[in-house]
């Protein structure tokens, strides 16, 4: 349990969770204030993007090189981290479904959460945890501005905004999710960030506990 607490603190997870909760609260209030019925699809997609962006920061610790010297295997822990993240990103909007302004439908939320987090996890080994949000942001921005075309390719390219049952979109999201999971679990985030002295001390503390 101690290890878990220190790990979460080194990744700044409490702050990210608080930010995610604040984010969904703000979007929920905006949704309730601006429309009488459930929020539109664009708003739901943007909310999922917002939550993904907030949780992106937790994908990398302050000193990746230090983390890699650990004796314990990282892959299962990274997988668990991603699965927990997708639960949060999908779960928070689904929670709002208990209220009249529910962010949904559930299929859309789950698909977009898995796909966007997968894309983030895929970018992390390539660009580093600090830059992993470039691809999801850019792609989703483009997808919201140019909504679906009729053909399969158009639906794949704008998969975030497609209807929940759409097959090409689901396939794209699933591919991104699986690819991201595997890439991140195997490779981990790239070594870009400089270390911050205080958090290095903390990171050393939890490594000592585990080793």
């Amino acid at each position: 349990m101690r290890w878990l607490t220190l790990y979460l603190r080194s990744r700044r997870v409490p702050a990210a969770l608080a930010g995610a909760a604040a984010g969904i609260a703000v979007m929920w209030v905006l949704g309730a204030a601006t429309s009488d019925s459930a929020p539109g699809r664009t708003m739901v997609v943007l909310t999922v993007l917002l939550l993904t962006g907030v949780l992106t920061a937790t994908l990398g610790g302050p000193d990746e090189e230090l983390d890699r010297t650990a004796a314990l295997p990282w892959a299962p822990r990274r997988i668990a981290h991603l699965l927990a993240a997708v639960t949060v990103v999908a779960g928070l909007p689904l929670l709002t479904q208990l209220t009249p302004t529910g962010f949904g439908p559930a299929g859309l939320v789950i698909r977009d959460a898995a796909g966007l987090l997968g894309l983030t996890a895929l970018s992390a080994p390539l660009l580093g945890a600090g830059r992993a949000w470039f691809a999801p942001l850019g792609w989703t921005l483009a997808a919201t501005i140019y909504p679906a075309a009729g053909q399969v390719l158009g639906q794949m390219l704008t998969w975030q905004t497609q209807a929940p049952g759409n097959v090409p979109a689901a396939v794209t999201a699933a591919t991104l999710a699986c690819g991201g999971l595997i890439a991140y679990a195997v490779a981990g985030p790239a070594r870009h960030e400089r270390s911050d002295a205080a958090t290095v001390v903390m990171a050393r503390a939890w490594r000592g506990q585990a080793g």
Binding site: R12, A15, A16, G19, G23, L30, A33, T34, S35, T42, M43, L46, L49, L50, T52, G53, V54, L55, T56, A57, A129, G130, W133, P136, L137, G138, L141, A142, T144, I145, Y146, R194
Partner: protein, 439 residues
């Protein structure tokens, strides 16, 4: 200062930000060139609409730069130096501001050659529209730096981008029916043109410029103020700017889809028969003239044929009076501009113009039998009527063809008499049933 500015331009995120804005803008524009191919004003307005992506990108770029500044850890060193904070922040702000404005303007430079040959009408309002767009991206970038400095988390970039796009798209929706309010505070809203003669109301541009400049000043003071009280005072220009902007703008519907009367003015050929197009389409005159004159020649067989062909510059919308009946002696043409800036569907212009003269378009409350009118039109034109686009009913299309073939079988004079009868019936809004068939 200029040396430091150059260093910052080279070494900070500025050039990347400008490049991203340029690429995003160019890609978005060229994906759908038909939206802006009609002229310079259209290009300016559509680029403003794509602020929907460019402003959030500028916000993220600013947040990235702000985070870098914050993480560099120079604050202790910098606080021991004499240069006042207001001057200290200028290189970073200046570099990013120049780069994003440069990116925004470079989009225009890259898309301008596409329509350079066909766009002739360049109103001063277009420059004003571009200026407001440039101010918006600069303000977004500076705001991003401020947020990134205060909150140097990785999440600042995506959160700001979502907030930006949420504001730009959501504020007009939240303004719920107050279009003027939505257009004022969301510079990307209301920029799609319903007609090619649209412009952006000067008052709207002025109001937007006021509050954007106020925002820029506020953000600069926030960056440069040393003490907390000064930062609180920074909000004053913003509040003032917003208040002035709201006051300057009329709160009615006159700001939406404002029509530029100069764009609507007719530009005509010098020789007869006269063919006129709107000023905004003046480059199309050479393409339109032969077709228009051909239509006039075809219509000359009718009694009291039109002598001139003009473009129909009527627009629809609130506050615009209902257009009256087509003026006598003038054939009105409607045409569109294709993705390359030339006449769209050039083969359609002649039948459309002839049909309109024949049909006394839209003035009869009960409507007229369109199949008869179509058959008569294509008899005058002399070609087989193609399937009407948008009508799936094969029987209707076959009926039209049947009527047309019936006319063709008749000798010239009799067919012409029937067509003339159709025309006069249309002018009287009479029932055209059976006029073309053997009674």
């Amino acid at each position: 200062m200029s040396r430091i500015l150059r260093i910052e331009l080279r070494r900070s995120a500025a050039l990347w930000a400008g490049l991203i804005l340029l690429v995003a803008g160019v890609v978005m524009c060229y994906v759908a060139p038909q939206r802006w191919s009609s002229g310079w004003m259209a290009l300016a307005m559509i680029e403003r609409e794509y602020l929907m992506a460019m402003a959030p990108l500028a916000l993220s770029a600013g947040a990235w730069q702000g985070r870098r500044e914050s993480r560099a850890g120079l604050s202790e060193l910098v606080e021991s130096t004499p240069r006042p904070r207001l001057q200290r922040v200028l290189p970073v702000l200046g570099a990013l501001g120049l780069a994003v404005i440069g990116g925004y303007l470079a989009v225009l430079a890259v898309t301008a050659p596409w329509i350079a040959g066909t766009a002739r009408y360049l109103p001063a309002a277009a420059f004003a529209v571009v200026t407001v767009g440039a101010l918006t991206v600069a303000a977004a970038a500076w705001l991003g730096i401020a947020v990134g400095r205060l909150w140097p988390s990785i999440a600042a970039g995506p959160v700001l981008a979502c907030a930006g796009i949420g504001w730009l798209m959501g504020f007009p929706a939240a303004a719920r029916g107050q279009q003027w309010l939505g257009m004022l505070f969301s510079p990307m809203y209301g920029m799609s043109q319903f007609s090619d003669y649209e412009t952006v109301s000067g008052r709207l541009t002025a109001a937007q410029a006021v509050w954007l400049v106020a925002l820029v000043v506020t953000v600069y003071v926030l960056h440069g103020a040393e003490r907390r009280r000064a930062r609180m005072a920074a909000l004053l220009p913003l509040v003032l700017g917003v208040a002035v902007a709201i006051t300057v703008l009329p709160h009615d519907r006159s700001v939406e889809h404002a029509i530029d009367p100069v764009a609507q003015e007719l530009v005509c050929t010098t020789d007869a028969p006269k063919v006129c197009v709107a000023r905004v389409h003046s480059a199309l005159l050479p393409e339109v003239t032969p077709q228009a004159r051909q239509a006039l020649a075809l219509l000359a067989r009718l009694p009291q044929p039109p002598a001139e062909a003009h473009e129909d510059t009527a627009t629809w919308g609130s506050g615009v009076p209902e257009p009256g009946p087509d003026p006598a002696g003038v054939a009105l043409m409607t045409f569109a501009v294709d993705a390359r800036g030339h006449l769209a569907f050039p083969d359609d212009l002649v039948p459309r113009t002839v049909g309109r003269v024949l049909a006394n378009v839209g003035r009869c409350p009960g409507g007229l039998d369109s199949s008869i009118l179509r058959a008569a039109t294509y008899w005058l034109v002399g070609t087989e009527p193609p399937d009407e686009p948008g009508v799936d009913d094969d029987r209707w299309n076959d009926h039209v063809r049947q009527l047309w073939q019936g006319l063709r079988k008749l000798p010239e004079a009799r067919a012409l008499a029937r067509v003339t009868a159709v025309r006069e019936g249309a002018l009287r809004c009479a029932d055209l049933e059976g006029m073309l068939s053997d009674a």
